[in-house]
């Protein structure tokens, strides 16, 4: 048998097998592999169901949920496959380095699972598995039960307020994995802040006019209004900011 490239169905490592016969040993995880036609069916992948238009809708909803009210610019999407180790109990552990900020909340997406064959993934990027099960679980039984699941993600890159952001939406159920969060708009705080400034401005105009004899009240009342309004504004705005930060 000549050297051929194979993919280990257990850990996802590619290797050349030049051993005689139909069996080979994975150089990464040591699994004994059968090199027949069914050699790769132990890999599974989820069938993507979210198309690009649906993902853009998800992006809009995700931004709205985060109270990001600006429109994203230069939006670009692509499909990629990311490997996860599926452990007993449907626990998912990345099989390649992943720096998503909300990885702990990511759950194994529901959906149709089929055998993974690289050729059927289309032109999408396939992130190779590089973390063997031995690196993530100590228990031998759990390690043996681990199966590689390739999850399709729609990567969305966009620009907002001069910064670039990346979000992955799993193309089976639409869960988001974010890498950097765009800042919340806090429209309510802005509106309240604007109203406070308007009130301060009105008090300021009254205070100035009184100070220069433009009203019937004596000048000291104008000075008192100016000082009092500034104090009230500072106290209310301070409390408002603290309230927003505690949410």
């Amino acid at each position: 048998m000549t050297a051929e490239e194979h993919v280990c169905p257990r850990c996802g490592i590619r290797f050349d097998a030049d051993e005689e016969g139909v069996f080979a040993t994975c150089p990464a995880c040591g699994s004994l592999l059968h090199l027949g036609d069914e050699a790769e069916i132990a890999h599974q992948r989820l069938v993507p169901v979210l198309d690009e238009a649906a993902v853009l809708g998800r992006l809009a909803r995700w931004l709205r949920d985060r109270e990001v009210l600006a429109d994203p610019k230069e939006v670009a999407t692509r499909l990629l496959w990311f490997p996860f180790w599926l452990l007993p109990g449907d626990a998912l552990v990345p099989a390649a380095p992943l720096l998503a900020s909300n990885l702990g909340a990511f759950r194994a997406p529901a959906g149709d699972r089929v055998a993974f064959r690289e050729g059927e993934a289309g032109p999408a990027e396939i992130v190779p598995a590089s973390v063997p099960p031995a690196a993530i679980v100590d228990d031998e039984a759990t390690r043996r039960a681990a199966r590689l699941l390739h999850v399709p993600f729609r990567e969305v890159r966009f620009r907002l307020w001069g910064h670039d952001y990346t979000v992955w939406f799993d193309a089976a159920t639409g869960q988001a994995l974010d890498f950097d969060l765009p800042p919340t708009s806090e429209r309510r705080l802005d509106v309240t802040y604007a109203l406070l400034l308007l009130a301060l401005f009105a008090a300021g105009v009254y205070g100035v006019r009184t100070l220069f004899g433009g009203t019937a009240a004596p000048g000291w009342v104008g000075a008192a209004v100016l000082a009092g309004a500034a104090g009230v504004f500072l106290a209310v705005a301070f409390a408002l900011i603290r309230l927003t930060e505690s949410r």
Binding site: E5, I13, R14, F15, D16, A17, D18, A24, T25, C26, P27, A28, G30, R66, E67, A70, A96, P97, L99, S101, P128, S130, V131, P132, A135, I136, W161, G162, T166, F179, D180, L181, P183, T184, S185, D190, Y193, A194, L197, L200, F201, A203, G204, V205, Y206, V208, R209, F212, G214, L226, A230, F233, L234, A237, F238, I241, T244, E245, S246, R247
Partner: protein
């Protein structure tokens, strides 16, 4: 990932069979537990540098970095800081030995160069002093499996850059390798937003960090600007009349321009003040210093629009040079 051909390995000490280990240059013999280095011809030497900093120290360094800055008191408080993430990032290392002035007697000089072998969004690896970090602690042969147990280990995906020619010297030897350097990522959530700091895992220096700015800092400015405009709008109209008369006493055309221009400037300053107090700012820092940057400010806001409006109006009054240039 390389397509390395699997080879049957046996321990040189006890003769026992060795399991292959992907992306690894070091493995332990399962029979006699001897530490074995695996060197393959044609493959660059793969080494890693042990971090000198623990996770708690990384958090402490991040807190120290922001100490004295106007950041919210709750920022980086216990409970808001996530578990620090240790990341091993590959760098291409090339050491070129060259001879200087060969006629006066050869002087051999080593010149190492480093370049990131991977790109990670949000982690500015170009700011890492790889030469210092690679020699900060003892190097070890890369044992990816062992590192992956406590850290994220990135595979090299970027090609090594071409090294420039050295003038006045002849390169006599060139060694290429890959070295994995430790980097700490400290993340903190504050007011629904995420802030991170990237630290050199050997020296603890901050490569890049972001933090929210204490928003109450801008409140005194807001009061000041509001009262300035209260003064402008609240002062008696007669004062404005006197000001206009004064302008026209100086020069009739200048008076006309100043009469129109003064409210315009006042309006622009008002817009500037509103622009300054309405946006939120954050601190962005690295080894060079800390800067204040707006986080939700569009590229052009009211002050820029008013300023551009002034210029457009001035061009229109003078006859547009653009159109004249187009005609010519």
């Amino acid at each position: 990932m390389t397509n390395a051909r699997p080879t049957a390995l046996s321990c040189p000490r006890c003769g026992g069979r060795l399991p292959g280990v992907a992306s690894s240059a070091l493995l332990g013999c399962p029979s006699c537990d001897s530490p074995l280095a695996v060197l393959a011809e044609g493959f660059p030497v793969r080494e890693s540098v042990r971090p000198a900093l623990g996770g708690d120290e990384a958090v402490a360094r991040t807190r120290a970095f922001w100490e004295g800055r106007k950041v919210p008191r709750a920022f980086l408080a216990a409970g808001s800081v996530e578990e620090p993430i240790l990341v091993f990032v590959p760098f291409h290392e090339r050491v070129r030995t060259f001879v200087l002035r060969p006629r006066e007697g050869p002087v051999f000089v080593d010149r190492p160069s480093f370049a990131p072998a991977v790109r990670i969004p949000g982690v500015p690896l170009e700011k890492l002093d790889a030469a210092s970090a690679s020699g900060a602690t003892a190097r070890e042969a890369l044992n990816a499996s062992a590192l992956q147990r406590r850290a994220l280990v990135f595979d090299p995906t970027e090609e090594a850059p071409k090294t420039p020619a050295i003038s006045g010297g002849t390169v006599v030897e060139e060694k290429a390798g890959l070295v994995w350097l430790p980097v700490w990522l400290v993340r903190c959530r504050h007011a629904r937003n995420l802030y991170e700091a990237v630290l050199d895992g050997t020296s603890g220096s901050v490569l890049h960090a972001r933090a929210p700015m204490e928003r109450t800092t801008l409140l005194p400015e807001a009061v000041f600007f509001t009262y300035v405009f209260a003064f402008v709008f609240g002062m008696p109209l007669a004062w404005w009349g006197k000001l206009v008369a004064f302008y026209f006493q100086l020069h009739w055309l200048g008076g006309l321009v100043l009469t129109v221009g003064t409210p315009g400037v006042v309006f622009w300053v008002l817009a500037f003040a509103w622009d300054r107090v309405r946006f939120r700012y954050e601190w962005t820092g690295d080894r060079l210093g800390v800067r204040r940057e707006p986080v939700n400010r569009p590229g052009r806001t009211l002050p820029e629009k008013i300023r551009d409006g002034f210029f457009t109006a001035a061009r229109w009054l003078n006859g547009s040079p653009d159109k004249e240039e187009d005609r010519s």
